[in-house]
Amino acid sequence: MSGSLPTEDPLVRMYRELKRASAKDKAQVKWAMVIDQAKCIGCHACAVACASENRLGPGVVYRPVIEQETGTYPNVGRRFLPRPCMQCENPPCVAVCPVTATYKNAQGVTVMDYTRCIGCRYCIAACPYGARCADFGGFYTSRTAESPGQVQGRYAARAYEKQNAPEYGRNWGERGKGSPIGNARKCHFCLHRLAVGQLPSCVTSCVGRATIFGDRNDPASLVSELIGSPRATTLKPELGTRPAVFYLA
């Protein structure tokens, strides 16, 4: 085996680092993500895993994978840009929220308080990355046919859909009329998974191991290593939002 090939799956290393971070004082941890565009194959597995993990309703997406065409004919290329919330250090969405329903937690993640949010969508308009969604309610199965007695039937599927989001470690009850319907929603680095020692859903589902996650305050972590790479960039740096999500271009 060539010595240049990785000897360990990055996931194994990230899990080890996650354990290390979990043992630290919470205020000493700063979560960060690095997305290697050279490794992303555009399979959308992360987007789907996220939607399933967070029970995202119709029209709500935390991590779409944007397809980008580069160059001019005949020298063209195609690459992918998965776009989670950038967890900005200076987030415009937080500053504009009139009721402090969104704020930065100690680990640098921009979080939502669904019980406070009035659904004004100001934060959605303020996010320069389009990283927030409004949950207008509804079910994917609203227009599907019913086939009684079969798993594929609307009512059978509705039972799955009615399970509400596990977000922020709280039971939001059956999906119906209560929060997060009517609220703004966003990627939160799967805080509920991190709390039980699991990596975010998009990280574990990434086929190309293009999404790396970890504690930025840990100099030995893989994210810290990659953030130091000359390939590392952020989106729209001119806005001064200081994202915690980096891209290896």
Binding site: A47, Q68, V96, V99, C120, Y129, G130, F136, I181
Partner: protein
């Protein structure tokens, strides 16, 4: 003598009220789910109507300022009417924006967990301020308490100015939307509100026959303000065009040639600016013409507000975002739903009802003696 009520307009307003009932029921059942809004176009008809009616409410501020600050005593008879118009418009604006919230029942959080960094919080504060001051001023006018009326007229001026400024400030901080951000926008909002508000008072003064001479005098003020507004709007468009940001010029192109371009060109520019600019200088002895010119301005501002709110959201925050995950709530295009049209027609109907019934219900506010109905 009781003021007469214009029956056709009253019936029209009742149709509006029926539409409002439909809109309210839809909001109660579906919340924002009954709208055609999405995550890439999060604001639409509700915000347009809010901004429109907020503008209409500025007449109270300007009439107070002209009377108390600049000594236009001839406008004094319009004080009560302007205050009443401001109150009706504020109530309509409040309904329009509250119905647009995904969780309207939590509005108390503005008080329980306020954020001082949010322009929306300040907008809420000054909205409440204008409402309370207008209410107190209206009471003073209705009671004929001159001293209180003067006091609240003075208070209206700073509170109102702050309110109309914060409405523009609300948008100007959104740096992700080039068309909205920038320092000209708050000034543009103040100018727009003053034009709309005073145009409303002018047309109401003619229609309710409160004081035609004052209406003609106001039409001159409207003309000057309209010129100021047109210049500011030109500056705003020019700066955005010259700035050369790709997303901003794309939004501008959408404003000028997109599906809603009729609202900008037809309704706003032609009906709301050019036509009044032609008509208003000819109104010296013709309050009816002044009132009609003002009505054109009011209708035109519906187009102006649409052109401000909707096209700016027609450009993706990141190229390709709109096709990355597909759903009707993730589009860059927007057409209001039936419920949204009903809400818009409803608040307009409510305002019309208020203005039609105003002289009958609140004669004290509309001025002392209605003038004879002969044409002038």
């Amino acid at each position: 003598m009781k003021a007469s009520v214009n029956k056709p307009l009253l019936y029209l307003s009742c149709i509006g009220l029926a539409a409002l009932a439909y809109g309210v029921v839809d909001v109660i059942i579906h919340r924002a789910g009954g709208t055609n809004l999405g995550s890439y176009v999060p604001w639409g008809m509700g915000v347009v109507m809010y901004l429109l009616f907020v503008g209409f409410s500025a007449g109270g501020l300007l009439v107070s300022a002209l009377t108390e600050l600049f000594g236009y005593r001839q406008l004094k008879p319009l004080g009560g009417l302007a205050t009443y118009a401001a109150l009706v418009a504020e109530v309509c604006a409040g309904i329009a924006i509250a119905s647009d919230l995904g969780r309207y029942e939590r509005m108390f959080n503005f008080v329980l967990s306020p954020s001082l960094t949010s322009p929306m919080f300040w907008m809420f504060v000054f909205f409440g301020g204008v409402l309370v001051v207008s209410l107190l001023k209206a009471l003073a006018f209705a009671r004929g308490d001159e001293g209180q009326a003067v006091l609240w007229s003075w208070v209206t001026i700073p509170v109102g100015l702050c309110f109309y400024f914060t409405n523009g400030f609300f948008f100007s901080v959104l740096t992700g939307h080039g068309l909205w951000s920038g320092p000209v926008v708050p000034l543009l909002f103040v100018a727009a509100a003053l034009v709309c508000g005073v145009a409303l008072v002018c047309s109401l003064a003619w229609w309710s026959r409160t004081d035609w001479d004052a209406a003609v005098l106001l039409s001159g003020v409207v003309l000057r303000l309209l010129v100021v507004f047109a210049i500011l709007e030109g500056v705003w468009l020019w700066i955005n065009w010259q700035g050369g940001r790709v997303e901003t010029t794309a939004a501008l192109a959408n404003l000028a040639a997109g599906p809603g371009a009729w609202a900008f060109w037809g309704l706003h520019v032609v009906a709301g600016v050019v036509l009044p600019l032609i008509l208003l200088p000819q109104c010296r002895n013709n309050p009816a013409l002044a009132a009609w010119a003002c009505l054109f301005i009011l209708a035109g501002f519906a187009g102006a507000r649409w052109a401000f709110v909707v096209p700016a959201q027609s450009v993706a925050m990141l190229p390709g975002l709109e096709t990355a995950w597909q759903h009707p709530r993730l589009l860059l295009t927007y057409l209001p739903s039936l419920a949204e049209w009903c809400m818009a027609a409803g608040v307009s109907g409510l305002a019309l009802f208020g203005f039609v019934m105003g002289p009958r219900l609140f004669p004290g506010l509309y001025g002392t003696t209605p003038q004879p109905s002969q044409a002038r």
